[in-house]
Amino acid sequence: MNMQTTSRLTAAESALIEAFNEQIGELPGNGAVTALRDRLLDDLKKQGLPTRRIEAWHYTDLKNLLRNVPVQAGDAGSEAMEPLVEGSPVLSVIQGKAANKASAGDLQVFPYSEKLIDGSAAAGLDALGNDDAVGRINGSFVKDGYVVEVPEGTELEEPLEIQFIHAGGDVHTRLPVAFGANVKGVVIERHQSVTDNAALVSHVSEIAVGQGTELTWIILQQQGAEDTHLGQIRIDLGPDAKLKLFVINAGGKLVRQELNIKVSGEGADLTLRGINLLGGDTHTDVTMVLGHNVPHTGSTEVIRNVVFDRAKGVFQGMIRVAPDAQKTDAKMACNTLLMSDDAEFSVKPELEIFADDVQCGHGATVADIDHNHLYYLMARGIPENKARAMLVNAFVAEIVEELEDEALVEALEGVISAWLEKHA
C-alpha cells in the first residue's frame, strides 16, 4: 500500500518530501508544532499535489504544472529593499528569515519562528481543509515570517511595508497580523525576487480585522520569471470593519493566490480589487472563497486581467451567503483584455446563497482594446503603439486609482507601466 502511494509521486512531490526529510531538525517548533508538521506532510505524501480532478484546482493542475522543486538559491543579500512608498516603515523577510526584530512604532512585531518554538503558532498552522494544498505545504515547511499586533486605535500614518525578498530555492513564510478595533492604515505585502534563481515560495498571511477598523491591504507579487508562488491570505472581518484588499500579480511563472475571507461581523465590508498582468508562458490563478456569514454585510470584487503571449490566467470567485446572512450585498466582476490569440483566461464565478433577502451578482467580460478609444487617441496624434499602451494601462490604472493615497497610486502605477513596457 505504502509502496503504491510512493510510486505515484511526481518528481516535484518526491523532491518536496525529500526536502522535508533533509530539514528535519532545522524546522523550528515545539512538540505540538512538530506533530502538526508531521501530519501535514503525511497528508501530502498520501494525497500528493492536487490535480484537476479536485474541484478547487480544476484550472490549475498543480501536480502537472509544478515540475520540480528548485534547490539552488542565489544571494538575497542582507539589505531591505527601498520601500514602494518613500519613507514608509519596512519589515523585511529575506530569503525566508525575519531580518528585523525591531518594532515599528506602536506595533508589536515578533519573528514568527519564536511563535513556532513556543508553540503558540500551532493553533493556526493547520491546513484549512482537505483541498488546502497551499496551507499544507506551508504548514509543513514554514520557518519564519512575522507576527504583528496592531493595538486598538492605532492610525498608521505611512503604509507599513512587509517585504519578502527572494533569491531562489524553496522558501516558506507566514504573516499573522491582528488588528485591534478602530485601526486605520495601509499594509503592503510585497513579494519580490532579486535574482534569476528559480524559487518555490509558499506564503500564508492571516489577518484578523477588528471592529470598526479601516484597513487597506495590498499584495504585490513580483516574483521572478522562473518562480512558483503559492500564496494564501486568510481574513476574518469583525463588526463594521472595512477592508480594501488589492492583489496585484506582476511576476512569477506559476502563481496561485488564494483569498479566504470570512465576513463575520455585522456591518463589515470588503472591497477586493485584483490586477493580473500576465505574459510569456506563465500560469496565474486567483481563487477567492468569500463567506458572508452574518446579516448586513457587503462586498464588491473587481478583477482586471491583461494577458499577453501564451499566458494563462484563472479567477475563481466563490461567494457563500450563510442562511441567516440577510441583506448581504455582493457584486463581483472580472474583466479581461486578451492581447494575443494564444492568451487564455478562465473565469469561474460561484454563488452559493442560502439566505433569501440578498443581492448578489457577477459578470465577466473578455475583450480586445476598444477600437473607438484607440482611434480617438490616434486622431490626436498619439502613435498606435503608445495609444495601445495607454489604453491597457488605463484598464488597470482605473483600479489602482481607487486607492486614495497619491504616493501609493503613483508607486503602483509605476509598477504597472514598468511591467507593460517590458511585455507589451
Binding site: H371, N372, H373, Y375, Y376, L377, M378, A379, R380, G381, I382, P383, E384, K386, A387, M390, L391, N393, A394, F395, V396, A397, E398, E401
Partner: protein, 262 residues
Amino acid sequence: MSYADKTQEPKMLEIKNLHARIAEDGTEIIRGLNLTVKAGEVAAIMGPNGSGKSTLSYVLSGREDYEVTEGDILYNGESILELDPAERAAKGIFLAFQYPVEIPGVATMQFLKVAMNEQRKARGEDELTTPDFMRRVKDAAAKLQINTDMLKRPLNVGFSGGEKKRAEILQMALLEPQLCVLDETDSGLDIDALKIVADGVNALRSPDRAVIVITHYQRLLDYIVPDTVHVLYKGQVIKSGDKTLAHELEANGYADIIGAAA
C-alpha cells in the same frame, strides 16, 4: 466661382472624386466628392441627414472603419490616404468629434500632454516642459471658460455634452492644427456655450489655417461666419456658394437644391 477665389492662398485640402465605403459591409457613403479648401478659408459643409457629412470627417481623419475605393485626398499637395490617424494628426489635421468618447482610466491632463508632445516629436520639435504645458492648458481653458477641475477627471468621463464639445475645442487650441474639421460641434450646445465655442474657433482663424465646419443648421454659421458653403447630398457636393447659400438653405430647406441637382 468668385466665392472661393477671394484669396490667392494655396490649396490646403483638395478632395478629388472621392469614393468611400463602410469597411464592414461595403456600403458606399461618399460617391465622387470634390472639394477644395484654401489656407485661411472657413468652409461650411451642410446637408440633410445621411448625406455623408460625418463620414467625410472620419475619412479625412483616417478612421479605419472606412475604405477609400477611388479618388484622392491631397493635403498641402500630398496624398494622405496611406497615413494613419496619428500621422495625419501630426501633420496638422484635427477633427473635433460630434460624439467624443469617454476613456476611463486615461487622465485628461496626461492625455493632453502625451498628444502635444507626440505631435511635437513627429515634427522634430522639443517636448514641452511641465510648467510650459501647464501654462498653455491654463490659458486655453480660461478662454473657453473650462473649469480646470474638469481636467482632473479621466478623459471626457462624466463630462456633460457641452463640456465635451468645449474639451474638443480646448484640444484643438492646444494642438494648433492647420486644418480643423468640426463635426456638428453645435449639436447639444445651448446658445451661451455655442458662443463660447464659436469664439474659441474664431480665435484660431488665421491666414495659414483652414476650418471646415460641418453642420446641420445655419445657427452656428451666425457665429462662425464661413467664406464658402457646400451642400452635401448622397455623398457628393451638389452646390457651392458663399455664406448667403446657408441663409437660402435655412429659408427654403434642401428640397430646391436637391431637386435642381437631380
